[in-house]
């Protein structure tokens, strides 16, 4: 049996098909952007560290506030001081509400970066940045939580360096990793990411 369609029926089918595909396109492609977190950071509850004033801190230090966290060491000649300095520049560019972000600089070299040494070092940068040190075991709990690479590499018997991840992590008050600012990102990009982090 051959089905014959009238012109109006054909037009109706065409219209329904068009609406269907437009809806699928709208849902799949034009959907409003939803916030997708990279991962959730789980802070070890037994965490015991020191800030650059020598005050003991635990996992609570990293909770219930938006924070930036960066890993480095004071013997780092380039990336670490540059990044710490850049953070201040970004904060100035973003302007309002930046004081609500907690900023942490965690050492990957606890052997040389005692709280006392960190205290001297942090004087070179924004007072908003908290230097954090501790034992290798305690610090490794943080490295693991963020998936940070930190490896001591000897130059010779007198000196060594520490290879380490160079990114800055933006973490929300629930421990969700909102975004990452990579080393070398433009001022414009960094400010955009920070502004998004502050406003979400």
């Amino acid at each position: 049996m051959k089905l014959k369609l009238t012109t109006s029926q054909s037009l109706l089918i065409l219209l329904v098909t068009a609406i269907f595909f437009t809806s699928v396109f709208a849902v799949l492609v034009l959907k409003p952007p939803t916030l997708s977190f990279l991962k959730t950071i789980t802070f070890d509850t037994s965490l015991s560290l020191l800030d650059h004033d020598g005050t003991e801190i635990n996992s609570d230090h990293f909770k219930n506030q938006k924070m930036m966290i960066f890993f480095g060491f004071t013997y780092c000649p380039e990336i670490c001081p540059t990044t710490l300095s850049d953070i201040s520049i970004w904060l100035d560019e973003v302007g309002t509400n930046t004081d609500k972000i907690q900023i942490n600089f965690v050492t990957v070299d606890p052997e040389r970066d005692t709280a006392e040494e960190l205290n001297k070092y942090m004087k070179n940068f924004s007072s908003q940045i908290v230097g954090i040190t501790g034992t290798q075991i305690e610090l490794e709990k943080l490295f693991t939580a963020f998936g940070v690479y930190a490896q001591k590499v000897p130059f010779d018997e007198n000196s060594y360096t520490v290879d380490h991840s160079s990114s800055i992590y933006l973490v929300d008050r629930n421990g969700k990793l909102f975004d990452v600012i990579s080393y070398g990102e433009s001022l414009e990009n960094a400010v955009k990411k920070l502004t998004g982090f502050l406003n979400y």
């Binding site: 013997y75 000649p77 990336i79 001297k120 004087k123 070179n124 940068f125 690479y149 000196s159």
Partner: protein, 164 residues
């Protein structure tokens, strides 16, 4: 007679000195140094990075072999690499070759001189002497100006995987 001999000897000495000076001047002219800076990170810096641009206008390749300074107990040539989000630094033991008619820059993000265990406090603006040893040229003493490195940043990182 004796006076004539003395005069002749003086002339010979002057000629030799002139030749020696000329050789030395020629040799030092084969490398041109620029942008010599010692970058520190604030007042409590424990390490400093040395940057310099070296142009070889001579006919032969030369190699920067080692570095010495009075203000640091350890002065080494290092290379920084940023690979897959990880900062790595390595000591260069084989030297840095500077081919004829090329310029090698020791700069942020690549080769640099690493001054460790600073023996004295360095201040921005200060000029310090750094001795650089080259394969052909031998030891060369150059003035490096101290600058507060992190204040120069403004996110103008140089991302060089290759310095040449």
């Amino acid at each position: 007679m004796l006076l004539q001999k003395k005069t002749a000897l003086t002339h010979i000495l002057i000629i030799f000195l002139g030749m020696a000076f000329s050789i030395s001047a020629k040799a030092s002219e084969s490398l041109i140094f620029d942008k010599a800076t010692v970058s520190i990170s604030g007042m409590h810096a424990k390490v400093a990075a040395g940057y310099v641009s070296i142009e070889n206008i001579g006919a032969k390749e030369d190699v920067l072999l080692s570095v010495k300074s009075d203000f640091a107990k350890i002065s080494e040539i290092h290379e920084m690499k940023h690979v897959n989000g990880v900062m790595k630094m390595r000591k260069i033991t084989s030297g840095i070759a500077i081919k004829s008619n090329t310029t090698v820059s020791l700069r942020k993000g690549g080769y640099h001189i690493m001054f460790m265990k600073l023996a004295k406090h360095l201040s921005p603006g200060e000029v310090v002497s750094v001795k650089l040893k080259f394969q052909n040229l031998g030891w060369v003493i150059k003035d490096f100006r101290v600058s507060d490195g992190h204040q120069m940043s403004g996110n103008e990182h140089s991302h060089t995987e290759d310095n040449q």
